[in-house]
């Protein structure tokens, strides 16, 4: 009986010490380095979830890249929803601060993105709850940059930044440094 109690205590101790290592390390990695999230909804079709709800894509969100709030036009980013703080939305960055954007159904048809803000849109116009509904979003709400699709395995790929040509900003305030597809 005493032997059993001693073994139990030993296991309990090992469990507690392992717990106090594993949980903070996991939380820190999820907060600082990378986060994995399932994409829901059709707003980013055809880039993400091309088949709809039957096989939702799982994306890797790089959080280390956005620690200084540096994003490019065309990046797919996850953003804390300005309408519901518990919810995260995943959209494509169309305009950075200072850009002039021709909007699709927003209250003004042309918008200059204010300082420290982004213009984000889903790829599936008309089926997306994005800046055309709630306006430019603050950079402080950016949560991560989608860097890879990791599930399903057949769709495993790196995500490259690309702006749909018809959605380019009319006037770019900050010039892209890595633009090589000027055609």
């Amino acid at each position: 009986m005493a032997w059993q109690a001693g073994v139990g205590r030993k296991y309990f101790k090992a469990f507690v010490s392992g717990f106090f290592v594993a949980v903070p390390v996991t939380v820190t990695i999820l907060d600082r380095l990378a986060y994995v999230a399932r994409v829901e909804g059709a707003s980013m079709q055809p880039s993400l979830n091309p088949k709809g709800g039957s096989s939702p894509d799982v994306v890797l969100l790089n959080r280390w890249n956005v620690r200084n709030y540096q994003v490019q036009r065309g990046d797919i980013v996850s953003v804390l929803s300005p309408k519901n703080p518990q919810q995260k939305i995943i959209k494509r960055v169309i305009g950075l601060e200072g850009d002039f954007i021709k909007t699709l159904g927003y209250k003004n048809s042309y918008v200059r993105v204010p300082d420290g803000h982004l213009w984000i849109e889903g790829d599936h116009h008309g089926h997306s709850f994005d800046s055309n509904t709630f306006g430019p979003v603050s950079l402080g709400l950016v949560h991560g940059r989608a860097s890879h699709i990791i599930w399903p395995p057949s769709r495993w790929q790196k995500i490259h930044p690309s702006v749909p040509p018809e959605r380019r900003p009319l006037l770019q305030w900050i010039q892209d440094t890595t633009e090589d597809d000027d055609d």
Binding site: V23, V27, T28, N68, Y69, L80, P85, S138, G140
Partner: protein, 167 residues
């Protein structure tokens, strides 16, 4: 000899990572110490006061009207602002100055809060840039730590009539 030194180094790195992660979790989910600067919250918080801001009520969505919060500035995410919550989503806020003949009002949209400094004459806040998203709030200021003679909970707002009441 070399093996022992290597083992010691690895052990040291492991402990550093472990305690770094514990510190990250504590600052991210429990609370942090903030040194405030600027005149916008006088007389409640004076320049260079150190306050403790707890982050639990922000994660549980328990921020209430009258709380002082630390939030990311909507125009520069690297800068933090310290203001008092005047209205939550759905509240009616008076946006005109006290002496104006015609009162103008606005409603705080869903998922947003209305922030104002206690020093109404010298504060850049929601009166100039509008309501800010709730998700930009980092924490609720609950204790003043420095200077020592004013240690303790924070005072009520000197302009309490700005805070809208629902009753």
């Amino acid at each position: 000899m070399l093996r022992r030194a290597l083992g010691k180094t690895l052990g040291f790195i492991g402990y550093t990572i472990q305690y770094g992660c514990i510190a990250h979790c504590a600052f991210e989910y429990i609370g942090e110490f903030v040194a405030c600067s600027g005149p916008s919250m006088e007389p409640t918080i004076i320049n260079n006061d150190v306050v403790f801001s707890e982050r639990i009520s922000r994660h549980l969505c328990r921020i209430e009207k009258g709380d002082i919060v630390i939030a990311k500035s909507p125009f520069d995410p690297k800068m933090n602002i310290c203001k008092r919550v005047i209205g939550l989503e759905g509240d009616k806020i008076c946006t005109s100055r006290p002496l104006d003949t015609f009162k103008t009002h606005t409603f705080v949209p869903r998922g947003h809060v209305w922030l104002e400094g206690d020093n109404l004459q010298n504060s850049t806040d929601s009166r100039s840039y509008g309501p800010i998203p709730y998700a930009l709030i980092r924490g609720r200021v609950c204790l003043k730590l420095w200077p020592p003679h004013s240690f303790g909970p924070l005072n009520e707002s000197p302009n309490g009539e700005r805070i809208t009441r629902n009753d």
